[in-house]
Amino acid sequence: MRRLSRPLLLCFAALVISVFLSIGLGSVAIPPKEALEVLWNTLRGTAPSSDITRIYQTILLTLRLPRTILMMMTGAALAGSGCAYQGLFRNPLADPYLIGAASGAGLGAIISLTLGWPASPFSYLIVPMTAFLCALLTVFLVFQLAKVGKTLPVTNLILAGVAVSSFATALTSFLLFNASGELRRALVWLLGGSTMAGWKPVIGQLPFALIGLLGLLIFAYQLNVLQFGDEQARQLGINVNRARTRIVIFATLSTAAAVAFTGVIGFVGLIIPHIFRRITGGDMRRLLPISMMGGAVFLVLADIIARVLVAPQELPVGIITSLCGAPFFLFILRRSKEKDW
């Protein structure tokens, strides 16, 4: 436990700093003093004193705060499930999208875009909801296909995942090709642009992401044991297939929640666990929580860059995660004393 506390504390401090930065920075410059005043007044429940503080309040509390939370949860969900998958599949290339969550979500989003739902105040939640459900369905399908009797071989899971993913991607492309009118909307979605502001996406995402992440943390020990290989895990008293199923369920839940509300953001789930493995070692009980925090910090920072870099426009945050993440990761790799990548 002592070995865990210091890096966790550092990560927590970094998270607090990045959250404050994310709320403090934006295209409208709000003086820190006024921003703190607005926050303090809101906490006390007093009404804003003037029009300008009312505007600041909206910007801070209905735009920046929910977006920061959304990015935090997405980063944690992607890094957490990426970490779990790398352990589960014993494969350094595994990422949260490996067994179909992203391509399923993409297919769901495009289907619901082309169906042309009647307009209603809820209509803009339909796309993320269908994306979420399709992501779960796709992984469920992969799961069923990979099953052999009562066992769940890892290789089957990966292969079925890759096959089902490319099938879903092909379907998505076909629908895109046909959906001329909705192409723009579909592209916005697929480019990972979360076009929703306010608290609704947070309310939609938070419960699923939290359940998924908590589940992963609870099964961290089993994940440790699974890394020794099926035979040894069994000897240590673990029901291998049941443990594997649970981990896939929780990882999928958080990944699907992330993808549905922010689009496909690459790289975070792949790289963050690797970076922290170098710092804390491979024990999932340490690595999982630290990766989640690290993922949250990383994505919040990337989002700040995405907002500030080409203001008033914004870049899809996925571009930033790869642009900044890849060189940083290579730097870590080169510096690390281990010869083995």
């Binding site: 029009d51 803009y124 502001a197 426009q313």
Partner: protein, 307 residues
């Protein structure tokens, strides 16, 4: 059983999460009350004085009806008229719009266009904005209706009506001149030919097709299936259009570069030098300039009839 409990929990969370955000509807009697193209009821106490536009045609039409000084911000692509360029830029395109700045400018009306997603409209409304969504029409009558709608919203109803009257009489003049004309040139309108073996051309139910027909021409793309269709060079050779209009001229495509494309020299229009650059904005941008576009097309198709 465990699975059942898990599923039930999930569905409870699901429904709880989304019942929290029920719609707020407050019908009120006021001066302006209209239904937009997302079937939302829009009510304004008075004509909008501070308008943010999210799409170039809307900016252009607002300026055309004299509401230019009520526009307080525009999207990045609103480049016409030139006066609009000096307004604050609030982003747009595939990148996101700058919601913070929109809020900071406290508009009393945001007008979104076809290019904007319903998600964006919903987000803006959640932030307390009044958003009118104006869908793209597919013929000139639709453009006129859009101009009049913007007139109502901005309190320039009369200017809008006058503008539309003038435009309509110009359209009528073109139709009158072309009445009874039998000979209609076939036209291939090029949108994009990055792949010269199957370039993009406008298909049926588009402004292009309806305007080319009104101008006394025949769009060969009208026979295709999709609105924005890729026509194969083989099909193009069989159709062998009388005229080629380069809507992609603004991206550097020239009649010379068309002649150099493999296989294109067998087209009659290329051999006859009937390949003409065309300002795509005169068709693609919904607004009064489309009538300029119609006249320009008619002049190209029937140079002897239209002066």
């Amino acid at each position: 059983m465990k699975k059942f409990i898990l599923l039930t929990t999930i569905s409870i969370i699901f429904s709880a999460a989304f019942s929290a955000c029920s719609p707020i509807a407050a019908p009120a009697i006021s001066e302006i009350s209209v239904v937009d193209d997302l079937d939302k009821q829009i009510t304004l106490d008075q004509p909008a004085e501070k308008i943010v536009t999210l799409s170039p045609p809307i900016t252009e039409m607002l300026y055309a009806i004299g509401a230019g000084n009520q526009v307080i911000a525009r999207d990045s692509f609103s480049d016409y008229p030139e006066a609009a360029l000096s307004l604050p830029d609030i982003g747009g395109g595939f990148a996101e719009y700058d919601l913070e700045t929109i809020i900071r400018l406290t508009p009393d009306l945001v007008i979104a266009g076809d290019i904007n997603t319903p998600e964006l409209v919903g987000s803006l409304e959640d932030l307390g904005m009044i958003v009118y969504y104006l869908a793209n029409p597919s013929d000139l009558e639709g453009t006129f209706a859009s101009i009049e709608t913007l007139g109502v919203l901005s309190g320039h109803e009369n200017e809008a009506k006058e503008l539309v009257e003038g435009l309509r009489s110009r359209v009528d003049a073109v139709s009158a001149t072309l009445e009874g004309v039998e000979e209609k040139p076939t036209v291939y309108y090029e949108l994009d030919a990055t792949d010269t073996a199957k370039p993009y051309t406008p298909g049926p139910n588009t402004f292009y097709t309806s305007m080319i027909e009104m101008a006394g021409g025949e769009n060969i793309g009208a026979k295709l299936e999709f609105e924005w269709a890729q026509i194969s060079l083989e099909q193009l050779l069989i159709e062998d259009p009388d005229l080629i209009l380069l809507g992609d001229a603004m991206w550097g495509v020239t009649p010379e570069s068309v002649a150099e494309r493999a296989g294109w020299d067998s087209l009659t229009a290329v051999a006859n030098g009937e390949v003409l650059p065309f300002d795509d904005n005169l068709i693609a941008r919904i607004g009064p300039r489309q009538v300029d576009g119609l006249e320009a097309l008619a002049k190209i198709f029937h140079p002897d009839l239209i002066k």
